[in-house]
Amino acid sequence: MLSYIIRRTLVSIPVILLMAFVVFYLIRQVPAGPFDFVGDRALPPAIRENLEKRYHLDWPLMWQFTSYVVGDDVALGVCNVAGFIPGCDIIKETPEGVSRGLIRGDLGESMKQRGRSINTIVGNSFPVSLQLGILSIILGLLIGIPAGVLAALRQNSWVDYLASFVAVLGLSIPSMVIGPVLIVVFAVKLGWLPAAQWGAPPPYTLGIIPPLTWDFFKHTIMPVIALGTGLSASIARLTRASLLQVIREDYIRTARAKGLKERVVIVRHALKNSLIPVVTILGPMVAGVVTGTFVIELIFAIPGMGKYFIDSITNRDYTLITSVSVIYGVLLVAANMLVDITYGWLDPRIRLD
């Protein structure tokens, strides 16, 4: 298992680097750069040039990326030893910049919030987004699986129809509608819950676990519901379909032939099998939750990472865009790995090696 995790991690490194390069390259092709304007005012050319030098925007692209990945000192060191490499003539002239290198754990420095390390930005905002995302998925599973099981067991009864109706409703109303409706009802009209912000600031236990205070929960309830209902709807539908399929399998008849109680037949013999397809969609679902957090964080003014991601694009904050993309990339890789491990645990026919 450990060797599987290590192997998967090693394999995913080139994938993430490739993705980082694509983002790195594409954002530089978009018209306008990070230092063209401050607010509405165009920057004087001299200052702009200075700033571009500081972030090595005058370097050849491959060298910029190299220094982003391994650090300025390494790039300069290489050029000092092997100056014949194309581009080194430009590099050798420049002083060492701010990049310490991605692989050394440095996500770089923001170009717009000058001097602010992206490690700090991400360190403060990513756990918040992660809390929102994880709680939404947990809510989705907690509602979706029982609802799906119930609908399947009472197939074509009013319970089933009600669950299907609610599921279709949950799927068709996007979170950007549910969110404001919740705010209007529970924050504005009833005044029960706060409309915005997050109830617990970082740092968190182990970097992610929030304090379990009422203040935390009252800020979380609405955004988590807004994001989680859509998830629970699709999980419920899938669980229902999958369980109905499994119940027709021969081994369920075998279980019944043993004289087992219906509850045991469902819980022990059917549920685990029927969750296998549910787990498979959790991988892609994490990607959906990531984009979902962008919207929800905006609606509820939650200080998560989504805001930085969107701002960094409009601001052309090159380093911030690339680094935040890398974080999301790592998150998706980790989520898919977790899904595969769960998958292997649910289904012994799948061997993880």
Partner: protein
């Protein structure tokens, strides 16, 4: 011998969108204690549905037992509710199924799948159940049983899985084991091993067996009596020798003719029964075999009743032809198997 199971006028229907499927029609038979009853008939003739009806394992809806009674140890299974039936299922009456590849739960260990019946019916604790499960696996001939018991089904071959199924079926020492084509999915050598295994276990445990198959030659050495089903009806039932030597229903005669001759040198063509069984939704009022019957007479527009023609030999036919000596080769089949 005492009656173990006495089925009278059993009738099972499936209420589908296309109409009512008359899957089991006035089925009457019995099984004595320790006796082995073979059930044959082509696919779709209602063999499985009859047995599943007795086990109360018919998917409902669309299925329903609409009539008849089935006395098992004196109690009517048809009138029982699921709770009462659950105490009998897997305990006094066990069933094993055709496809060992799909009949075991792929995500549960073999140990779990055997032990759960023991814990439920015999009230054994975990350790006792485990010991007994190992013993059962040994009994059905699984090598290194104490090691293999924690394996998953996919780690076993088809034949080994069917042995596991048999171990599950025999776990609580049932008085009746229903085996629904347990060897059909297996290749011939494995088939013979499974049949031998069941024969050994039968004498050891002393249980009665209902063995469903569409391979008549297999029953020669295994069954005491054979029951032939066609279109949800019993068309003939007789002691095994009587049925082979003196079959009286045209369908039985056809089935016996279609057994491959093991003694023939050339690849002789089989003579399967010509034609197709009737539509069970649009069920004929005539004898259901009439359209395919080479002996049909005008009287056959009425469905005949089961009639006793000899010692424990019943036939549902107006003509009751004497089987010609087409079956002579069959004695050799029996000697070989």
């Amino acid at each position: 011998m005492a009656r173990l199971l006495d089925v009278k006028e059993l009738e099972t229907r499936f209420f589908t969108e296309n109409g009512v499927v008359k899957a089991v029609n006035h089925v009457t038979f019995h099984v004595d204690e320790g006796e082995t009853l073979g059930v044959v008939g082509e696919s779709g003739s209602g063999k499985s549905v009859t047995m599943l009806s007795l086990m109360k394992l018919i998917p409902q809806p669309p299925g329903k037992v609409t009539g008849g009674e089935a006395l098992f140890q004196g109690r009517d299974l048809v009138q029982m509710n699921q709770n009462e039936m659950r105490e009998i299922r897997g305990n006094n009456m066990a069933m094993i199924f055709q496809d060992p590849m799909t009949s075991l739960n792929p995500v549960l260990r073999i140990s779990t799948q055997i032990m759960e019946a023991l814990e439920l019916h015999l009230k054994l604790n975990k350790q006792e159940a485990r010991d007994r499960a190992v013993e059962l696996l040994r009994m059905v001939g699984i090598p290194a049983a104490e090691k293999r018991i924690d394996d998953y089904p996919h780690q076993f071959s088809g034949g080994m899985r069917q042995r596991v199924m048999i171990a599950i079926g025999l776990a609580c020492v049932p008085q009746l084991l229903i085996a629904d084509e347990p060897t059909t999915a297996l290749d011939v050598t494995i088939q013979a091993q499974i049949v031998d295994l069941v024969k050994d276990l039968r004498s050891e445990i002393g249980m009665a067996i209902i063995w469903i198959t569409h391979d008549m030659s297999l029953l020669a050495s295994l069954a005491d009596r054979i029951m032939v089903m066609y279109a949800g009806e019993i068309v003939e039932v007789a002691p095994v020798n009587q049925l082979y030597e003196n079959p009286r229903h045209p369908y039985t005669i056809g089935l016996l003719r279609s057994i491959p001759r093991l003694d023939s040198r050339e690849h002789e063509r089989l003579q399967p029964v010509q034609g197709f069984p009737p539509d069970l939704i649009d069920y004929p009022t005539t004898c259901p075999f009439m359209p395919r019957c080479p002996y049909a007479i005008s009287q056959c527009v009425q469905d005949p009743d089961l009639e006793e023609v000899g010692d424990r030999h019943f036939v549902r036919c107006w003509v009751k032809p004497r089987g010609e000596k087409v079956l002579a080769h069959h004695h050799r089949v029996r000697e070989i198997t």
